[in-house]
Subunit: 446 residues, 2 copies
Amino acid sequence: MNAYRAADLIGAKRDGGSLDEDALAWLVQGYLETVERGDGPVSEGQMAAFLMAGMLNGFTEDEALALTRVLVESGDLLDLSGLSGPTIDKHSTGGVGDGTTLIVAPLLAACDAQVVKLSGRGLGHTGGTLDKLEAIPGMRVGLEPDELLRIAREVGCVVAAQTQRLVPADAALYALRDVTGTVASTALIASSVMSKKLAAGAGTIVLDVKAGDGAFMPTAAEAEILAGVCVRIGVAAGRNCVALVTAMDQPLGRRLGNGLEVAEAVQLLSTGPTGRLAEVALELAATALSVARGEGAVPSEALRAELTAQWSSGAALERLRAMVSAQGGDPAVCDRPEEVLPHAPVRRAVAVGRTGHVAALPARAVGEVVAALGAGRARKQDPVDPAVGVDVHVAIGDAVNATSPFVTIHARRDEDADRAARRLADVLTLSDEPVPAPPTVLHRVT
Amino acid sequence: MNAYRAADLIGAKRDGGSLDEDALAWLVQGYLETVERGDGPVSEGQMAAFLMAGMLNGFTEDEALALTRVLVESGDLLDLSGLSGPTIDKHSTGGVGDGTTLIVAPLLAACDAQVVKLSGRGLGHTGGTLDKLEAIPGMRVGLEPDELLRIAREVGCVVAAQTQRLVPADAALYALRDVTGTVASTALIASSVMSKKLAAGAGTIVLDVKAGDGAFMPTAAEAEILAGVCVRIGVAAGRNCVALVTAMDQPLGRRLGNGLEVAEAVQLLSTGPTGRLAEVALELAATALSVARGEGAVPSEALRAELTAQWSSGAALERLRAMVSAQGGDPAVCDRPEEVLPHAPVRRAVAVGRTGHVAALPARAVGEVVAALGAGRARKQDPVDPAVGVDVHVAIGDAVNATSPFVTIHARRDEDADRAARRLADVLTLSDEPVPAPPTVLHRVT
């Protein structure tokens, strides 16, 4: 590797230039040394200045590709070559009521694929799969690589925490981006997402890039751009990679909150695929399986039928039960979720107060209410409450009457429920005219 | 002061907004706490991201004004109210062979003004007044405020190091800008320069903003913009403030190097104002004295005559002698500079090798040769050699013949002289046609 001066590389980016992989590698490794040992050649301030310069002047797609490789090479790789079936990974850019992983992973396992999914925790208004799983009594999400592989082999799916030895440079960069206003760069988001997926080793990667006020990308057009960069990074690395752009302008699931989302997934896997959450989960699973089998990015009717059959037969629920059990959780959650999952002491149904058609129920605002009830965290180190949350009984396009509840609040205290009820009533927009239900799956990016 | 979140302020700047003084004060103080105590609310990375965002999106003039006040308020102020005459300060943005302070300060003192000048050290291709003064045996530049004021009262001029208690936030910010590619912002340069001048307390401030390849600002137009922002900051703070834009496309003085520049100043003060260095020094002194006396920014002929008389009579040299003596230096430097100042063991005259007219002798390249001989420093902590340097015998427009020397090199070793000679021959551009001598004082900004 060549020797560089950090100031020169920052200056090049500041002046609109682009860096090659060698220079990016030196910069990232130099900063990682500073984070890990305190004496690297690239200081916190230098990395932050570089990120802001790139944020404002833009990174090229070549830089995004190179940065992804640099991040992957900063740590260990998960070796999935010992698994028998097609290995599939799934990633969502995050949203509100996005419990797709809890459905997609066991559903793919039921179709003989093997899913090793490394997930994150919730932050701000968005939920995190690990927080949801930990609502199940006994559930362990901190697994070593050999345990991950064993469960994947035996059960077909496993969902656990990112280990510190995978892409440590991404963790270091993300922590800095988070506090320096440099999160919302397409290239930085794409390289962060894809470095983790590539290091996790799956042959097929399906991405769920959310668009809407509750997502990183507010518009479908921006989400499609991000999805395109991610897919091209995945393909360049020799993986099957495909993305769906899906709506995050309203909550995806009907139950929001850590335990409530587990209950909803169990309920859906018990009763069959209905509703928007099921639609997205099914489309993600079908798309992933189709590309994994070499059948192209648009799943055939036969494949959709196979997945629906595995879902409706209860085979997918069986895989979830086996996974929970293998990770130390109480498998009875798959039979009697309401008994096994924790309950919030206050339950409050809130009526709409007038008739109309739901025109808007913004995902971000609703997610913030859920987080404020205790289900989310403002800072990384905060604990989350597994019991609290909001059941949403309406979606955009639904006709409502004055007395029927549009939400049910699960709260720790009465005053929390009061505050949540007021805020939710504020953010619900009704129209006197009928409102068409908007589409949920918006684009397919290959 | 309000409470803020650093990420919000960075985001505002990143998105093209501007910050008010309250927000800037919180940001700067928060970073200063991090630098001084390690636990402020604004991290190194956050300040660097903010500076880069401002560098690329620009700062408003209101922000430059506010930032200057914030920097001034971060430390102590020098109280010059006990001095009798008009108090005058002078600042140059730095260049090659820019020994004006060594002439302007004693010249103004000879006209009954009082000059308390806090100076810096050289870095890169530019020289620094403190390094030059320290070439004089015994000279002390680290003076406490009471000593500064006593010498100013007794002698009329004193030139010393910036104390750590004046504008500590500027020192902290500058150290970060220096390594994060965020030096070259007009607003940041102006607030840095003017905060130090305002804290140093003089009623009249004259600025010498250099333009050319050897200066911060490569063109006269850019230098004029910087000068305008600086002057408006000074005026807004209730000071007399005026700026000259002067040429730095070739070395200003004829002798370059720490001891050599002292010798040149003594020689000029002994023999009278001739040459480009004398022209700039006289114009700066005349302009400062004119505004200090309320006679406007364009000095009258009578005032110029007064200054020329004080110069030619030896009165200004007497003040330099008194100042050197008061600061512990050997006053004989003003009588026999060649004896008192250190000598370099190798002295090498270099001939041009052909006839022609000097078309270019770029200040930066020549400054880099001087620094490489040992007169300058690459890093702040490096020592400098007081004896080495280059005498430049030609200026743009001069006719030269093949055998007459165009430079004389003062070096520590033969190989240093060889390298300097080759490099200087490379950067000298001759024309077959006559070349007009370019102007030295380019603009007056009030």
